[in-house]
């Protein structure tokens, strides 16, 4: 169990990372232990894959202590356009 829900995580990512698009899905049937996220922000521009993930991990450092499983797909706006086109 964790006290976080999708909405909380989306709001936090939106605020801290100025996301253009963010979608967090609770995959734990509401118990808050497992989430997956798609995060799109210009803050990722010029960053390597590792750096993008690090940025998200550090933004959610407190939350990730309680969330058992968190997977992310983190894109720059440009990459996101390509992903959507596929």
């Amino acid at each position: 169990m964790s006290k976080y829900d999708s909405k909380y995580l989306e709001d936090k990512l939106k605020k801290e990372l100025q996301t253009e698009y963010v979608s967090v899905t609770d995959e734990s049937d509401g118990c808050g232990g497992k989430f997956s996220a798609i995060i799109v922000t210009p803050a990722f521009n010029g960053k390597t894959l590792l750096q993008k993930h690090r940025l998200v991990n550090s933004t959610l450092a407190e939350e990730l202590k309680e969330i058992h499983a968190f997977s992310q797909k983190s894109y720059t706006p440009e990459e996101w356009e390509k992903v959507k086109a596929q």
Partner: protein
Amino acid sequence: MSVVNVTAADEYQKYINGEKTTVALFAAEWAEQCGQVKDALEELSKITGEKLQFISLNAEQFPEISMKHQIEAVPTVIFFAKGSAVDRVDGVDVAAISSKTKKLAESASSAAATGQTLEDRLKALINTAPLMIFMKGDRNGPRCGFSKQLIGIVNNTNLPYETFDILSDEEVRQGLKTFSDWPTYPQVYVKGELIGGLDIIKELLANNELEATLKG
């Protein structure tokens, strides 16, 4: 000190598990290049004196040992500290062998005074193999869904790798998170550099960059 020719498995075990860091040459008689490396090791053994020990063994006489360390070509040099492989050089790269040997000789003299720190240990662990995976369980019995998926993807590349079971060592489990600034497992390292976790490996796979990245 000079290079000792090891001909028995128990003799080999005694060396690599000893107090001193061991430089082990896996060679074959038919490969001329092995002679070059052996000569280089002889020279290095004179320079480093008593700090390290040097052994040479015929890889084909010890198929189990060679298999365990994924010796795919001779010569291969593996560095052992207290029984674990901490570094290796595949092929005739005398410059790399020489610099790694000297570095280990230096740390041997400082470690003798201070004892090995956790940081040293973690550095050695992430360099155990060119492709190193820290996970829950091992490749035959992954103990979490993410580790299992990761092993499946990496197995498909057919690249050799080593794993470390973080459930077996709490000090490493917590220490490596801080050391690498990465909060979760599994973690994938190539030549000692963190590549990332499962999400990153999947992303690399989707972009057709996985194999190149894992080869380093």
